[in-house]
Assembly symmetry: C3
Homo-oligomer: 654 residues x 3
Amino acid sequence: MQLGVCYYPEQWPRSMWANDAKRMVELGISHVRIAEFAWSRMEPRAHEYDWTWLDEAVSTLAGAGLKIVLGTPTASPPRWLIDAYPDILPLRADGTRWNFGSRRHYDVSSERYREECVRIVTAMARRYGKHPSVIAWQTDNELGCHDTIPSYSTAALTRFRTWLARRYETIDALNRAWGNVFWSMEYPSFDTIGLPNLTPTDANPIHLLDFRRFMSDEVASFHREQADVLREFAPGADVLHNFMGFFTTFDHYRFVENGAVDVAAWDSYPLARTEVIALPEEDKARYARTGHPDVSAFDHDRYRAIGAGRFWIMEQEAGPVNWAPWNPVPAPGMVRLWAYEAFAHGAELVSYFRWRQCPYAQEQMHSGLNLPDNQLSQGGLEVARAAQEIAASSVLSGLPPASRAKVALVFDYETQWMFEIQRHGKTFDYQTLAFDYYQALREMSLDVDIVSRNADFSQYSLVVVPSLAVMSDDLVRAIENSSAQWVFGPRSGSRTPEFSIPLTLPPGLLQSALPVRVLEAESLRPTLTPATSLHGVEGNAIHWREHLQPGAGTEVLARFDDGWPAVVSHGRVRYAGAWFDHALHRALLDDAARAAGLAIGTLPEGLRVRRRGDVTFAFNFGPDVVAAPAPANARFVLGTRELRTADLCAWLEA
Amino acid sequence: MQLGVCYYPEQWPRSMWANDAKRMVELGISHVRIAEFAWSRMEPRAHEYDWTWLDEAVSTLAGAGLKIVLGTPTASPPRWLIDAYPDILPLRADGTRWNFGSRRHYDVSSERYREECVRIVTAMARRYGKHPSVIAWQTDNELGCHDTIPSYSTAALTRFRTWLARRYETIDALNRAWGNVFWSMEYPSFDTIGLPNLTPTDANPIHLLDFRRFMSDEVASFHREQADVLREFAPGADVLHNFMGFFTTFDHYRFVENGAVDVAAWDSYPLARTEVIALPEEDKARYARTGHPDVSAFDHDRYRAIGAGRFWIMEQEAGPVNWAPWNPVPAPGMVRLWAYEAFAHGAELVSYFRWRQCPYAQEQMHSGLNLPDNQLSQGGLEVARAAQEIAASSVLSGLPPASRAKVALVFDYETQWMFEIQRHGKTFDYQTLAFDYYQALREMSLDVDIVSRNADFSQYSLVVVPSLAVMSDDLVRAIENSSAQWVFGPRSGSRTPEFSIPLTLPPGLLQSALPVRVLEAESLRPTLTPATSLHGVEGNAIHWREHLQPGAGTEVLARFDDGWPAVVSHGRVRYAGAWFDHALHRALLDDAARAAGLAIGTLPEGLRVRRRGDVTFAFNFGPDVVAAPAPANARFVLGTRELRTADLCAWLEA
Amino acid sequence: MQLGVCYYPEQWPRSMWANDAKRMVELGISHVRIAEFAWSRMEPRAHEYDWTWLDEAVSTLAGAGLKIVLGTPTASPPRWLIDAYPDILPLRADGTRWNFGSRRHYDVSSERYREECVRIVTAMARRYGKHPSVIAWQTDNELGCHDTIPSYSTAALTRFRTWLARRYETIDALNRAWGNVFWSMEYPSFDTIGLPNLTPTDANPIHLLDFRRFMSDEVASFHREQADVLREFAPGADVLHNFMGFFTTFDHYRFVENGAVDVAAWDSYPLARTEVIALPEEDKARYARTGHPDVSAFDHDRYRAIGAGRFWIMEQEAGPVNWAPWNPVPAPGMVRLWAYEAFAHGAELVSYFRWRQCPYAQEQMHSGLNLPDNQLSQGGLEVARAAQEIAASSVLSGLPPASRAKVALVFDYETQWMFEIQRHGKTFDYQTLAFDYYQALREMSLDVDIVSRNADFSQYSLVVVPSLAVMSDDLVRAIENSSAQWVFGPRSGSRTPEFSIPLTLPPGLLQSALPVRVLEAESLRPTLTPATSLHGVEGNAIHWREHLQPGAGTEVLARFDDGWPAVVSHGRVRYAGAWFDHALHRALLDDAARAAGLAIGTLPEGLRVRRRGDVTFAFNFGPDVVAAPAPANARFVLGTRELRTADLCAWLEA
């Protein structure tokens, strides 16, 4: 449980640096991230490096006792580099080229740019790789942000063709796998394949999917090229990248394969995230100043798995930000709360963005721990309080890593891509469905691990799969070999890896565990809401409904008004043939959790509970005063049972 | 009353073909359409034809006793052709070029592409033109779909200039006709005229209109070039094109001139159409699983005229489709009902799309008569029932062609274009207005012919003209020479063929039949709804209202609150000076129909009636059980008087 | 108080001209504007001028006794000029080039086009500059209309770099001022700076602001080049440009500097303007046929200042127009009312657009004083009445110029640009805020001058600054040196001229007059509405709220529920830390106006009052009959106390 901050010494007079470092330490901060975006200062002209300022910044911060995370500056190629190689600028789907003048103006597939990145990272790593205070390196910044991925450049096209040739080996194999006989889409050779943009109507879904898979691999290899340099020249340091919340443009599980990162770091902005994701309007209104209670937790639990247990908040919201449609000030207390929430979910470090609000340029309305006049902001004051509390509590400062939960929720990036490519109904969004299942579990006071479809499921009591487009034999075996209760949502097993419908009909391979055929599926306009009842809870399908034909031995747990099965089960496996409203999702998971023998709580609205080690934390995101569900003999290590809005407590069970 | 199906043998193993053919015949299917989109299989490489598979498919289907409709494959030029001639790809209004990778990626004005189309069609027609089972040919597929027309290519520009030079002869004549003195838009010569895209503000409306007229002619000549080949090499076969519903990009009356088609075929998708057209939200909700009761009938009645009495459903929805914002499963019974509805309106053939759902590529979520696992779908089962019913009834199987109705509704494509170019109010849409008039007539239990402004009106009792931008002397004479009641809607006669306001003011030439001047016209925001009362019905103008100054002998049938006339008449001619709400439209047409001596019924909501020969059909699109308006002594040949949702009946009057 | 009309003789047969002139004079019209847009007739081919028609038109109109305003034709470069120099066509932000075919298809930065404009204006001015009836010249037409400014051309880029080099002198100075160290945006030299379009995320706000400043200067210099020619060859005539309503693309105060115009003319279309601006829907509904009561007045009061007291309506709506989403007919009386409204606010001339509705081309649905068949329209009849009334009243025809009001409202174009660049909340719009303040003042029966931040404030009793992004030392001194009450709205003083946050925090320099620090600011989604109470009025903040920390001596006039100050004051200066709802704005200004000793009236909804000389005018824009607030002994020179909708009266106090 350590606190950090993001700092840009190049943006401030050198005369301020020493005092800044001193004040950071006094505030209780142990880690500081610097240098990302500073390419034009490290290398003001081609091959003319200037390390003097960075040497001084590193030594000043290290001298104050701070641990340093160095960011590579590749998210912002400098002007002289773009002038030398204009093809570095990425192309959009509509054929226009992005300009220099902000950030992320590079084509991830540009081989020239990749060479330049390796060059600057090598130079940095040679200089600072063995500095004892430089304990970690971050590559680039928020890969994929601002829809800069995919790029539709010639470089991307060339590499995509190579990627396809490697995957399919022959053009006949590709034409067969893609079903290109349809609409005469057959390609004579790999070098006649184009990118799937600007087609008069939908491109072939597998064309779109393979392009997304390719681009995901491009992002991973872009990082990997830098990571390889860092491994060589900074052998002891942690390598990481700062991922984003609710972000699915690339497959994070594949990104981190083969030790590409040591820790999964991500950037947490709960208020803005709550504003921009597809939540019901009443939730956005209710949680406008606290953030939705599950919006950060969802990614804490996701990135903990991605980091194989190790995760950091690289950037934590410290006050109002600048990039949502509306940007309110957080409720007093939230900046402190968010830190504890991350720790409760297992974070090693919570690093705030940023030390001081920058009065100029694009992020001038993005707050920091200090106002532009160098007074502590409201957020700064709350961080000071949290640091003091942690320092004062041996229980808090000595918490062990988060242990495995009893409930696993499978989140799958390819499923997101496939159902974006083929929403079928315009209100169908897989991540939103997964988030609704996750909320239901969290409202039941359950701790959840969010894991990949390839996880080890043997130790879980309940495995929830909100949907999984492609079922695999491995997963079927995992079901058989586990003793868990399994819940599958709609569209599970509905596609092959080549984006076809299984010839046995959906849910395809899952049929060996749960015999059922999906005869037809329908997307539902908001006025079409087939009614059903599950375990005494009345409710409706929304967005999506399937016509299920149960096979031998399959039980129908609920039926719709019109007679079609709503939920079926076979042994430990349940299948929901619709996207249900939230109350029905709760009923479905409640039933499965009880069957799994899990202890279920009922939390007041807006309250959430999370356990780490022996400590249970409770967080109040709602507007009302509520009581934390601590046992009578709980020993409070933080706060008390009564929780006002934006407050938290933590206890040991006696 | 024959049933057909669309089939793509190239998408399935040859081992399935014989069984497919056998099962089609067993199901009661007599016609099968094949080969459209299969260019890459007919000609895998330039000038290397491969007919073996198509020979086998034709002989297999013919051998089973099926009649074959062959589609030309020109809606999907293959990759090698695009690589050879990239200019075939069309340009959008914003200057970007569409890519290969779906379908319809060709510029209809490309002379190179037209040559290639003639070449492949000639090769097909030479091979199969005299095959006794190939009884019809379809050109291309859904011309104009996916907004691929107009194209803004150099080829289009060059041909547009030629078209203009032919129309106007001299540049001075064009400048005068277009009024190019306005804003100094005068052109020195035909070769300085551009396309009307990307202008800082509106282009000259006549510039836009002439471009639409030109593009409509381009579509027609593109078809005609193929039709000419087919006439030569397949002399006995019907030539057709599969048109679309609610589609007005080209003038279908001009398209079919001079025998360009033998039968008007169209593709009917009632649920998706109901979702995407401009209907009130409550109608979309009410009819989400049945389709709006008039949405298919409107096009049945339109294409029957376009086909001079002969029309087919080339593609009929067989279950949920994939291309609307939401795609529900039809109510059980609708797949059967839609077939009878088409027959009742005079269709010779109803051909379902498609035989079997294709598990891969773009249309994998588009259902067929069989599921991907080759079991009959719900739609397939309903088709089987309909086929059995027809076979069992000599009355049904022996129905004569549809006879002329007593009511004509004039639909005019140029009016659609002119009021799209100049909506004046953003909620003004001519086709929506025409559809509202059509609904009112159908709710009154009237059979309707939808005809062009050049039709023979001498036999009609009532002629309804929802609007007609340009009045002609011929039509004025037709009014004089008929004994019908005539109803004209707003904006009738408001423009000259050169898109100017008549100097006598609107309704221009109509003034000789009905003396009235439109002093001013206004478009109405939703909150502006001038009130009036017509024949005891209270209601409002919406969208549009005119200030009418009646001339000598013109009677005012209704006035608005503020004194302006709402409806005027002179002899047998009525003029509505506004877009009225639906109740007022009903009142207006009810009055005219009574004056015309027509028998008017009052149907329950959602019920529709249609007569063919001696048989009256009744269709229930609504959710409630209703009674069909059959006389007491009716002899039912299908069903009974009581109609559940999605059910129908048919009777002979004893 | 004179009446004019816009006339396009080239659009009509010469045989009509003399009669048109005669009828204008008979109607009471004294001024006629001609020749704008007629380049293709003045110069049909390069360097071949044809003045014969214009000579005849001028002599016909002058012969009838009309005063002529000549428009330069540069808003519509002819086709032959575009063919000769295609680079004249402007580029949009997305890189596409506008086409010929409407108007305003030129790049304001094109030096070639500027030369051509000087050439044609010189030719015109040499020919007509000394004609005694040509009493004024208008340059171009509605500069910036149709989003043609800014242009993103190479010419614009080249000139922008020169403009920047002049402003910043060295690239280091620019990099420092812009804060380009942020995200490595540093430029090696001026010729590497690009335009701020097509960046992956926001461009640097100062980059965007300087580009807007540059483009504003481009517009001004484009006009100035023509004005210089006119000064030389038409020495006695007034030079003007016809500005637009609610239009902020360029800085009108800078435009008119150094005598660039003699009179500020603007084009007033109240109904369409009411439809398109950001008004509450209920206001749009209520005032759909009258226009919002303040929508024209706001610009009358703005352009009166811009014209240093002299302003004209160059184009006044004469009936329904063609360019809003919906275009209703004005309520009977409004065409007359709008003329008097303009006169009451100080207009010298009200010139209607246009003499006769043109039956062809783009504006065929734009009404005029005559219908296309040459009968007077409803608007024409109302103008005749107004002309007769004025001629019959020596009081009305002898009114003096408008005198200075007691209330000043500061409107600032750069503030508009800065808050468009950085809305922070998507519902924040500065002009809308300024208009809400203006409405509140007008509802209180106050006459208002709208002035620039550099105005002379010494004579005002109340100065209202809805917001002013950049405070200056000059303005602080003006506060100190005045005796007025001052009201500042939110975000005042929140930025430096280089688009940075002041290091003392907002309101920056204003702190010397009113000690307060804005710690944080938040934009408010519609559901977040902090409550407060001011002078007994309960209400809410909307859109925007600040956290104010009052300094020594600063009084808190109102607090929000959560304790933050809502309004603070120090001496004669008030600061509102939020965008309030309208009732609170009224309460705020009411309090300040009382402190300023102003007489405040309470007007019925929809009624407005304006004084000119000794005459008070009252205008009823609302639907109800209301009583004008004339004293008992008022002497009415127009109308009576009872005002129906769309009516007005005027009186002298006895």
